[in-house]
């Protein structure tokens, strides 16, 4: 037998297309799924479809939500003059876990990266401007310290500053509790770049 039976081959093929999954692990996962009790397999398949059917982007902030407007945007206790812009929903969740930030969010759904065919118009950038016109006076940019993160930050700053909003960026550098001696050089360089007066 040179090939898998057709349905199994199809599953392997679909799994292989997932990010970070090679042919070997796709095969392993497919066999695992195939051996699941019918109910469990159905639960898995339904979960995928439910996400597709029910999850959409929040009308205000482009965060993933199962409502028209997401939980954060509906929260009336939020400070509506300040907005934190992040690349992905998981960045928003990370920020929320700190319990430190009580303003609004905006999720770009990615970072500018021409190599991945992501130019500014592919991101949820257009949607920022009406929100800024609608009472937001301060914007915090919270992106990873990668080339793409930095470039996206520069892009937004150059487009937002002329509108008179305050634009700041989260600091990148030493981890809290980190030791200077053990920090890698890139971290130290970044910490130096983002130093501030005391």
């Amino acid at each position: 037998m040179k090939h898998y039976p057709k349905p199994l081959g199809k599953l392997v093929g679909e799994l292989e297309r997932l990010p970070g999954v090679g042919p070997k692990s796709a095969q392993r996962m497919a066999f695992h799924l195939m051996r699941l009790p019918y109910e469990e397999a159905k639960r898995f398949a339904d979960a995928i479809l439910e996400v597709k059917d029910q999850i959409k982007l929040c009308k205000e902030c482009s965060n993933f939500t199962d409502q028209e407007v997401c939980e954060v945007c509906r929260d009336t206790k939020r400070d509506r003059t300040i907005m934190c812009i992040v690349a992905e929903t998981h960045d928003l969740i990370a920020m929320e876990k700190t319990n430190e930030y009580r303003g609004l969010y905006h999720v770009l759904q990615g970072l500018i990266s021409p190599m991945d065919n992501i130019t500014p118009e592919m991101l949820k950038i257009r949607e920022i401007f009406p929100r800024v016109a609608n009472g937001v006076t301060e914007v915090i940019l919270a992106f990873n310290p990668t080339t793409e993160g930095q470039t996206t930050a520069l892009f937004l700053a150059s487009r937002l500053k002329p509108l008179g909003v305050r634009v700041s960026q989260i600091a990148h550098g030493l981890p809290a509790g980190g030791n200077l001696d053990y920090a890698d050089q890139a971290t130290l360089i970044s910490a130096l770049q983002w130093r501030r007066e005391i």
């Binding site: 021409p114 130019t119 080339t147 930095q150 150059s158 050089q185 890139a186 130290l188 360089i189």
Partner: protein
């Protein structure tokens, strides 16, 4: 700086190797293709994180092995002794350890151990393509500036992204600003300007040293001029300081005697928006800022040409270095001897530069120079390294070495992946010396030339 102990594991043709080198000249001798150069390559890997010859780093792994490992115990005067380890995996991935603790990034090992390699492959610096010369610059500057590595990494990424965007604009013309080209321009300048500045800084210091050495090697008959040929036309010399302080790295932060330099850099780096505009006008721009301004201006002059062609036309990726002997370009008009001499001069100058920078001499790695250089230059080189630094020399025979060198040197015989120290070295050396004495006709002419 010297290596007290070197250990290789599954590295090239060595299943394992332990070496206790001497403090001065170490000679590895044996037939060709026995693994002499591999020892130098291991040391070079510790200094640069790069293989000397492999196109893929996994070629460094012993046939059938999983991981190639190089470990060294390095004695340092300025920063204290250190244990270094570099591992190379089948995936071409590398891992470094400093004093036994694993570091997140391979480049963190740069600056821990400094070595200067000289061998026939270095001829490409003078003879090869501009890309070979840029590669040389990148490796050498990385050894003394971690910041350079950081900027270079970002720059390459920005360049790739910008080129992709320019291609897009070429194929489907649109207002460039809509696609954010203005921001990629700024990023190219942000990361490119410090690279240009470091290259200028490095070559400006290297050039006079290299000329000094070249003159010494040619009995004052020839002058070597090394010129930085940047793609971005530099601002007029008057606008650039000649004693720039632009190189920042950890060793500067550590060393108090360089603290003032570091503080100057901090002030220079203050973005224009943070400082009062009046003082800004009066004080001269820092070098990197002046270069950034020139870069920005020349990029603007090009207008839409880059978008028309779909590629970045300006920046460090198009830099070159020119070598001129008495005004004539060495690559085109130099004799083979001149090209070798210029390369050697460059390497010895590099040695001095690193020594000035680090505060102690780096380790010298000389690959097969005994057969590549003429007697005169060979003698000069041996005299130069003698008592100056720890040196590793590979050669096929001990014969060409003068007595004084052999008397002091530590010698190792290399045969088929086995390195055997000449234990009773003195005896052995005296035997070789005796052999040389007996073999008058060949050695006589040599010793005359060495003496002259």
């Amino acid at each position: 700086m010297r290596v007290r102990y070197l250990k290789l594991n599954q590295f090239r043709n060595y299943p394992s190797l332990e070496l206790h080198p001497g403090e001065g000249v170490n000679i590895l001798y044996g037939q060709n293709a026995q693994g002499k150069t591999n020892v130098l390559e291991a040391l070079s890997l510790l200094a640069t994180t790069r293989s000397l010859r492999a196109s893929r780093e996994s070629e460094l792994i012993f046939r059938g092995g999983d991981v190639a490992r190089v470990m060294a115990d390095v004695v340092r005067e300025c920063q204290g002794d250190v244990d270094l380890e570099v591992s190379v995996f089948q995936t071409d991935k590398k891992e470094v350890k400093i004093n036994g603790s694993k570091r997140g990034r391979v480049v963190d090992i740069l600056g821990q151990f400094n070595a200067v390699f000289f061998g026939s492959i270095d001829l490409v610096i003078v003879m090869g393509e501009p890309a070979d010369r840029r590669h040389y610059l990148n490796i050498e500057i990385s050894q003394i500036s971690p910041r350079y590595v950081y900027d270079l990494g970002h720059y390459k990424r920005v360049l790739a992204q910008r080129n992709r965007l320019l291609k897009e604009l070429r194929d489907r013309p649109r207002p460039p600003k809509e696609l954010g080209l203005d921001v990629w321009n700024e990023q190219l300048i942000n990361y490119g300007a410090p690279i240009i500045e470091k290259r200028r800084f490095y070559l400006e210091r290297l050039a006079p040293l290299a000329n000094q050495v070249h003159r010494a090697l040619t009995d004052g008959k020839e002058n070597l001029e090394i010129r930085y040929l940047p793609s971005v036309r530099l601002p007029k010399p008057a606008e650039l300081s000649t004693l720039s302080t632009a190189v920042v790295d950890n060793s500067m932060i550590r060393e108090t005697n360089r603290e003032t330099q570091y503080l100057t850099e901090i002030q220079d780096a203050t973005p224009a928006s943070e400082s009062a505009p009046q003082t800004r006008v009066e004080s001269p721009l820092s070098d990197t800022e002046a270069i950034a301004a020139a870069f920005r201006e020349q990029m603007a002059e090009m207008g839409l040409e880059e978008a028309r062609r779909g590629v970045t036309l300006l920046g460090p990726q198009r830099d070159d270095i020119g070598f001129f002997i008495d005004g004539a370009e060495t690559r085109l008009y130099g004799s083979q001897g001149q090209q070798r001499t210029a390369t050697l001069a460059l390497k010895l100058a590099e040695f001095q530069l690193i020594q000035d920078y680090v505060g102690e001499p780096p380790v010298m790695l000389l690959d097969d120079v005994m057969s590549d250089l003429d007697d005169n230059r060979r003698a000069h080189l041996l005299e130069w390294v003698r008592r100056r630094c720890q040196t590793f020399i590979t050669c096929t025979s001990l014969r060409p070495f003068p007595k004084e060198i052999l008397a002091e040197a530590t010698t190792f015989q290399v045969a088929n992946g086995v390195v055997t120290p000449d234990v009773r070295r003195k005896t052995r050396n005296s035997r070789i010396l005796a052999e040389k004495e007996a073999n008058k006709p060949e050695t006589a002419s040599e010793s005359v030339e060495i003496a002259s």
